[in-house]
């Protein structure tokens, strides 16, 4: 312990104190202060950049979610539109089919009616023809018959007999 204090040099202590004060002041002013400021600034910058990136990512995510939602909505809308279109198409086809059927039916009906009336006309004409023909034949037969007296009488009788039965 004695040596310890014997070795203590007041001069060196004084010089060291002065030099240390000078060194601390110089370093603080010209080195530590600008270094610390720059480091803090840089750290804040990095923090800011990270925050900004984070924010941007979140916004991006929001945007993407929005896009997704929009896309989903668009898809849904398209689907409904398709569905409606399909329904309309089906309905139109159905309608068209019904109409066509109806028209066809009415045409068939008209055709049938026309055929019927033509048939009736033809029948009537045929009947007339047959009647004329029959009258002609009958005239010829009767004429031949009436040339014979007994046969005339016989015919009158027969007719009378028939008329009675009626």
């Amino acid at each position: 312990m004695g040596d310890l204090f014997n070795d203590f040099s007041i001069g060196l202590f004084a010089i060291q104190t002065v030099l240390l004060i000078v060194l601390i002041l110089l370093m603080a002013k010209f080195a530590w202060k600008p270094i610390m400021n720059s480091l803090t600034e840089r750290e804040e910058g990095i923090q800011g950049a990270l925050d900004a990136a984070d924010k941007a990512r979140r916004e991006m995510e929001n945007l993407q979610a929005d896009n997704q939602r929009l896309l989903q909505e668009a898809r849904l809308e398209r689907d409904t539109m398709f569905k409606e279109a399909r329904e309309i198409k089906a309905k139109m086809i159905e309608d068209a089919k019904g109409e066509a059927q109806e028209q066809a039916n009415s045409m068939i009906k008209q055709a049938q009616e026309a055929i019927e009336s033509e048939k009736r006309n033809a029948m009537a004409e045929l009947k007339n023809q047959v009647a004329v023909l029959s009258v002609d034949i009958a005239e010829k037969v009767i004429r031949e018959e009436l040339s014979n007296k007994s046969k005339q009488l016989e015919l009158v009788d027969k007719m009378l007999g028939e008329a009675r039965l009626n």
Binding site: L12, A14, Q16, T17, L23, M27, A31, I35
Partner: protein
Amino acid sequence: MGIFQYRFRFLFLVSFLLCGSALFAQDAEQAEGIVDTKKEVDDYIQHHIQDSHDFTIFSYSNDAGERKHFGFPLPVIVWTSEGLVTFMSSQFDHNDNGEVIVEEEGLSFAKIHGSIYELEGGATAVNLDEEQHATNGDKVIDFSITKSVVGILLIGLLMFVWFFGLARQYKNKKIPTGFGRVLEPLVLYVRDELARPNIGEKHYRKFTGYLLTVFFFIWLLNMAGLTPLGFNVTGQIAVTAALAIFTLIIYTISGNRDYWMHILWMPGVPILIRPILAIIELVGAFIIKPFSLMVRLFANITAGHIVMMSLIAIMFVLRAELGVVGSSVLSVALSLLLFFIELLVAFLQAYIFTMLSALFIGMAVAEHDHDHDKKGHDGSDVEDVRGDFI
């Protein structure tokens, strides 16, 4: 590893430049400069640990048996009975036993074991007592530019150049390049691992400058002590005392109301115990804390130097037992091993000094009451860590 290489390269460069322009102080002396016996080794180590008035890089004895010193003298500035006196240390001719008397401005000076004595009027020789203290002279107050002062100036300059360079780099770019890339993480380390956790988020900014300065100052000087230049600045008690007193002044000035309350009138204990605690706390704050800072650094670095030189001395001391080759190999192997340990210690001591300074400051500015537990834990941790390595 890069930083070490760089530093050594730089220091070698500095020493080389200094040698180049150095004054070649070559003077004859007896061949007694040869270090061989245990006593001589001991004296040599004691001499090295002390501050020196010359910057001697190496010495050797030539064929004629003359002692040659390679290095340069430094100015001696002493405060005497007649005021300030200055002369160059070369006038002492590397004599450290009071045999050479320097006459300057009508006063006579002698250098004995690193201390300069002003001899009483008319004395032409020094009378020494048994403990090798001059009986006919008084120690002067010695403001000389000693080797330690040169070391402080060199390291201070180095720090300023490095960190001013780093500070300037930030003007143009966000990330430093070159050597600044090595310095920046160290600055961040001190700020984020030492200042911030120990002082607290709120106050650490104010003290970071001091802590950074002290950290790099101690570390670089510790490392300089490991170079062949043979600085032993942080092994000078005056230097560590100044550092410790700086920390003392800083935490005493910045102590807040809570801090003084805890020292002078501890809350939460019986009234009668409070004065006793106040005495203990005052002794702790003003004597034990700075004393522990001062002695820890001084003792670790001094011990490192003593052990280092002792291991180198194995080469001479065990030459008879192991032969030249055996003692040399043993010496080199052991000192190389110790060198790496000392590299670690150089960092560790700077770390511990800075950490404890930060802790003491943190205790003084803390706004809560948990400081005392914290002190106990951290203090013991640090002691454990130190105990493991030293």
